[in-house]
């Protein structure tokens, strides 16, 4: 019985210490994440990529966020489309673009 009582006290003590230590680390890392790195907190969506132009360096550096990857792909598609417009002097859909080789000859 004495063993059980002491054992129960160690269960409570042990879990308290483990939780305390890891909670302290959690708080430090949360603060660190917000101050040192100055990036959005975890679990929040980044909105920079969606609202800014393709020339934004955030987009160029994007590697992991879905929205940023989507923005990079959109920017690439827009750039490609823009290039086609300049080259052909008008809006040309990628599917409809068929160079007329014979007429050039």
């Amino acid at each position: 019985m004495a063993n059980l009582t002491e054992g129960l006290s160690i269960v409570v003590l042990g879990m308290t210490v483990v939780f305390s230590v890891l909670l302290i680390i959690m708080v430090i890392m949360l603060v660190l994440g917000k101050t040192v790195n100055n990036t959005p907190a975890s679990g929040t969506k980044s909105t920079t990529a969606k609202s800014e132009s393709p020339a934004n360096p955030n987009i160029a550096a994007a590697t992991t966020n879905d929205e940023e990857i989507l923005a990079v792909l959109t920017a690439a598609a827009l750039a490609f489309r823009g290039g086609m417009q300049v080259q052909n002097g008008g809006v040309i859909g990628l599917r409809s673009y068929r160079p007329n080789v014979k007429s050039r000859w």
Partner: protein, 402 residues
Amino acid sequence: MEFLQKIGSGLWNFAQTSGFSLMFTNPDVAWWQYALMIVVSCVLLYLAIAKGFEPLLLIPIAFGMLLANLPQTVESGIMHPEWFTVTEIDWGNVLSHGGLLDILYLGVKLGIYPPLIFLGIGAMTDFGPLIANPKSIVLGAAAQLGVFITFLGALLLGFNFLEASSIGIIGGADGPTAIFVTKTLAPHLLSSIAVAAYSYMALVPLIQPPIMKALTTKKEREVIMEQLRPVSKKERILFPIIVTITVLIIIPDAISLIGSLMLGNLLKECGMADRLSKTAQNELINIITIFLGVTVGATATANTFLTADTLKIVVLGLCAFSISTAGGVLFGKVMYWATGGKVNPLIGSAGVSAVPMAARVSQTVGQKANPKNFLLMHAMGPNVAGVIGSAVAAGVFLALYK
């Protein structure tokens, strides 16, 4: 005639020194005990090689067990576990008369190998998911529930406090931690606890899913978590330093494990010590794994392994793993409610450590509930937090009973 007599007596003497003869003449170990231990070793080898159960560790452990359980005399013995379980070890005798494994076992006995393994683990571990979502660290704490509940269960089954601490730490699902605690508090249980710990770690994909499914609803398992943010190099470098200072100020007894783990991680993340980092995560950890596995396996002799205590430890180890899994999942459910359904409770089970197997199990179970679910990186957070959590739990036991 005299020549034939000499050959005959020579053959007789040779036969008497053979292992086959020793098997039947050793007063301490019966022939069937030798045979049973050889069968156990071969079964473990089969599981490791044919079934892929933690082969990197189970092969050295099983082979060490085989070496120690082939009949041998005291003089020719490769390992003498009984020399290390006494109160006052005769170090002179160990060094002058010890076999190969006796000498290598000094690394276990003196607590050298587990921290060096942790150094390598630290150099291999990416704490990025944990840094990106620090809230997941509490799941690594919740999953230590099995450690302490099993400690209580071991006390109820008649083990003393030191033995109960060593058995409980199996629930941390961390082999080096279990070995480190056991060699300090209950060295006579080392082989049983090591075999139980590594066997259950290999069985994580079988043990965890039924518990995870039983404790969660389909709606909870289907939750898709948002993408983790990128982690800067500055955070990655500061993390090991912060953890080391925080943990060791509170629990100095965890210094060997946490200190080594974080040193390995700092070598990796700082980017200035690539040679050291590569050595720690390859050559060093591989060499130490061989030494640790073989010597721990060699402590499993018939007299120490074929006991009722081993059976109890096997049962308690299973309880420890199951309760730790349940603790993580239940705390995951708390986070699910607290965040309004943004956290998938399945990532809680990864808090039992067993990197990265437990995280993979979270991913598999989550994807079965919802094929669009990708929980792996989210589960890696609690998973690596579990490594820190189990080392802290070990530090608590060492502080109380060392």
